[in-house]
Amino acid sequence: MLFLPELTLLGVGLVFFFLSLGEPSSAKVKNVAISLSVFVVFVTLVCLKSEGELFYRAYRVDFFSQLFKFLIALATLIVLIFSDQLTSVKEKVQAEYYLFLFAAVLGLMMLVSSVELLAIFVSLELSSFSVYIMVPMRNKTSGAGSQVEAGIKYLLFGVMATGFMLFGMSYIFGLTGSTQLLVIAEKLNLTFAQPAAVVAIVLVLAGFFYKLALFPLHFWVPDVYEGAANETTAFIAAVPKLAAVALLIRIVTLINAETNAIVNILVICALLSMFYGNLSALVQKDAKRLLGFSGISHAGFVLVGLLTLESTGYATAMYYIIGYVFMNLACFLVICSVSDKGQNVAIEDFTGLHKRAPLLALTLTVGLFALAGIPPFVGFSGKFLLLLGAFKQGHILLVILAALNTAIAIYYYLSIVRVTFCTDSEDRGTIVSSRKNNILSVLLIVIIIVMGVVPSKFIELTTTAVQVVM
């Protein structure tokens, strides 16, 4: 029962393994994927309250992990629904594509429950390797060769980040003689004055910085976002980030609040992430690349919550990343719908969208304004609460610079809104959006607004989740 969501996913993976043996039609695979994904969401929902430990205390099932599992399943389902056609992946390998997708989801779900270094490593690799394979699985017509480059870059940077992480883990083991996070936390408290402990923690964090696309391990982002199929990018941009934040929270709780060194390092990473992401996004022409850079700056914001080293900060960071996933998915929904043959979408391609597809234009606008942090959307309340928490901890300069970043960021979000709303459609055709996508759009808009206007319920939820870990 404790392992039910993971077992279900394993079963789902097997289904696709057997499907891949035959030559099923694209539509059939798609329907199977969506219905099984709905089932996975249902299972994670049922298991939301289960608690316990497995595998010699290497694997913990608690509300924190179960909530993340539910969110991971939900985000995956959303991606699957709007990536309806999957036009940019060859029909022959679509079953394999889903096999790896669900394997990645399985890895991520295991990751959020892992409380032992080796378990963390194994789950992380399971999810990473599946995604490494998904990236180049784009057909030549839509990817134009960039997909292979993206795949290699993603793999190489990923392996490098994993190397750092393993190195850090070895230090931790050397310092504490244990791989259990709980034991490590106790013993590390005694030796935290040593530089080795700081180095160890920072190196382990690096592995998850990579997943979250945080400076200085963000280099893969623009090329992978651009090179991977739109649907794959949507997945990468949303789902692994949830798991990364979960693990960052688990590891950051190891840090002794009295050590300034790590906090200072995190502050610098957060600021550089924001500035780098926002300034680079200003000049982008490709929508996915732009969202990639904006993702880097948002990762910086998430870190603002984590570096407060207190439970309210973690809870807001969690709230923020959940909100971020929904805003981001809203934007990717539009990107996938606008790109009819699976090609990349330039910002120009949104020209006159208000006429060609009013609902999509509204969804995109809401998503972008939310990402920009304009009230009343979730992006604003998230940023505001994060800054509030950081200010309480005395990071005044960080708060001022982060606030300035919001002002920089608004320009490039606004330039997309401008193209979407303030231009005529010229001779671009209308976009037919399926009924499913329309319902999903409305739902995403509602979630983005509701989370922004009445955040208390969500904050309560994340606070309860975080309390379990503290």
Binding site: P375, P376, F391, I410, L414, S415
Partner: protein
């Protein structure tokens, strides 16, 4: 909590805030364009009628916040939904609610494309604007303050003129950049005030002077851009010129008032010492704005630009009135905010009506229409006279009070003896540029274009302008009821200010002589 008069019974303020929003949601389900127009008109008129209840129930002898409603909102961070009205905000709320139906009427035939979106933007604007003047929780205030940018951006960006893209982005970036540091200031206040965002609770506290100065600068940047004060005004002409008529009216009549409202509501009570220290600079910037606005308006050939620059000058009078820090100055400033809302709003409507006929905002192409549009000219003449403060019109009362306040400040306190004198050329310039415009539009010269085809105002347009004229004359001839509304609140504001800082006034006064 003793500054609040709780409202029991009908939650009038919440209804005023949320009724337009509900109307915007209803618009989603309306297909016919004509129905959209009627629905919006009905909703805004309903809000206007309901807002009159505020006057009926308002206790003018009390300086407390009235009709207060309080609900918990984000309990974990002690953020509450608190709204209330006092003498400083009541007139601005009424101005907003009464102008909105007229904006809808003014856009009746002007807006032909995407009517549904346009009307939804107007309604969302109304929610945000009314809410800003009522909010007593800083987070609520900030959210509405920022949320307003989106519909206003769309109003300019979609239905605007040829350079709408430039104008709308400039407007958005300027205003957003200005209010970012306000957010940091709010967070500082929250942490310092025992984790509370309650605005009245933040007033008249003993914050350290250095912190006050920083806080004041954050306030100043946000509010001065919104007013806009010289030299932060450059977004205004662009936005005004490109915006559709209703957008210009909202911008001029209501949005600009939020800056000066912000000074009165936040800067004075929260950072009194910093106000005293930085007052001279603000005053001279106001003077600079008055003179600069006047001269620039004199040189314009585009009617909308002319009125936009005149706004810079008029708003300079308002900030001047606020920062002379005496009863006449501040009451005059609040009255002048309302006056400017009425007069400039009406002038923009007048320009819009000409534009609908000639499709040009150039003064040159509108010369000599007086012969063919007698009704129009009558209205225009009254509003122009009001704009430069002709006796008998509303602006005369406001400007007179402000200048009287400035003289009192100069002579009684013996500070900056030339301050009041320096504002006089502004009043003269106003007469010069308004009369120049009026002369050209009514008579023009020998080279007038053929205007014989032009039609006079229709009844809808007369209905739009008549209420403005009514208020121009009412405030001009009998301003007492309006001043009574604000008197208690302003008196209390100044009492607090003087009592709290009598000593520092003296100290700072000697510093700047």
């Amino acid at each position: 909590m003793d500054q609040l008069l709780m409202n029991s019974g009908f939650p009038i303020l919440s209804v005023l805030i949320f009724l337009p929003l509900a109307g915007a949601l209803m618009l989603l389900f309306v297909k016919s364009e004509q129905l959209c127009r009627y629905l919006t008109l009905v909703v805004t008129s309903l809000v206007a009628l309901l807002s009159l209840r505020l006057i009926a129930g308002f206790d003018i002898t009390s300086a407390k916040f009235q009709f207060v409603e309080q609900h918990s909102w984000i309990a974990a961070f002690n953020i509450n939904y608190v709204v209330g009205v006092d003498g400083i905000s009541i007139l601005l709320i009424l101005l907003t609610t009464l102008i909105m139906p007229l904006c809808v009427l003014a856009s009746w035939s002007y807006i032909k494309t995407r009517v549904q979106t346009f009307m939804a933007c107007l309604l969302i604007m109304e929610t945000a604007m009314v809410g800003v003047f009522m909010a007593l929780d800083f987070v609520l205030f900030y959210i509405l303050w920022e949320a307003m940018l989106i519909p206003m951006y769309l109003l300019i960006g979609i239905w605007g003129g040829p350079r709408k893209v430039y104008a709308s982005i400039k407007f958005f970036l300027y205003t957003l950049a200005g209010s970012i540091l306000l957010l940091v200031g709010i967070i500082w206040l929250y942490v310092t005030n025992n984790y509370s965002f309650f605005i009245p609770g933040m007033m008249w506290q003993d914050y350290p002077v250095t912190a006050q100065v920083y806080l004041f600068l954050a306030f100043f940047l946000a509010f001065a851009i919104k007013v806009p004060m010289f030299p932060f005004h450059t977004w205004l002409p662009a936005a005004h010129v490109e915006a559709p008529t209703a957008g210009s009216v909202i911008l001029a009549s209501i949005l600009l008032k939020m800056g000066t409202y912000g000074f009165l509501r936040f800067a004075l009570p929260i950072t009194p010492e910093a106000t005293i220290i930085l007052m001279p600079y603000v005053l001279w910037l106001s003077i600079a704005g008055i003179i600069y606005g006047g001269f620039t308006a004199l040189a314009q050939s585009d009617m909308k630009k002319l009125i936009a620059y005149s706004s810079v000058g008029h708003m300079g009078f308002v900030t001047l009135g606020i920062f002379v820090l005496n009863i006449r100055g501040i009451e005059g400033a609040i009255l002048q905010m309302v006056n400017h809302g009425i007069t400039t709003g009406a002038l923009f409507l007048c320009v819009g009506m000409i534009y609908e006929r000639t499709h040009s905002r150039e003064l040159r192409s509108a010369t000599g229409v007086g012969k063919y549009m007698p009704i129009y000219i009558t209205f225009l003449a009254f509003f122009s006279l009001s704009s430069f403060g002709f006796p008998g019109t509303n602006s005369f009362v406001g400007e007179f009070m402000i200048i009287a306040g400035a003289f009192e400040f100069s002579t009684v306190l013996d500070k900056f003896p030339y301050l009041a004198l320096a504002s006089i050329p502004g009043a003269v310039l106003a007469a010069a540029y308004m009369l120049r415009m009026l002369q050209k539009i009514i008579w023009g010269g020998t080279d007038n274009p053929d205007q014989s085809w032009i039609t006079d105002l229709n009844s809808r347009e007369i209905v739009v302008l008549a209420p403005f004229l009514f208020f121009v004359l009412w405030i001009g001839l009998g301003p007492q009821p309006f001043i009574d509304l604000m008197h208690a609140s302003v008196t209390q504001l100044l009492q607090h200010f003087d009592a709290h800082h009598a000593q520092s006034v003296a100290a700072a006064g000697s510093l700047f002589q």
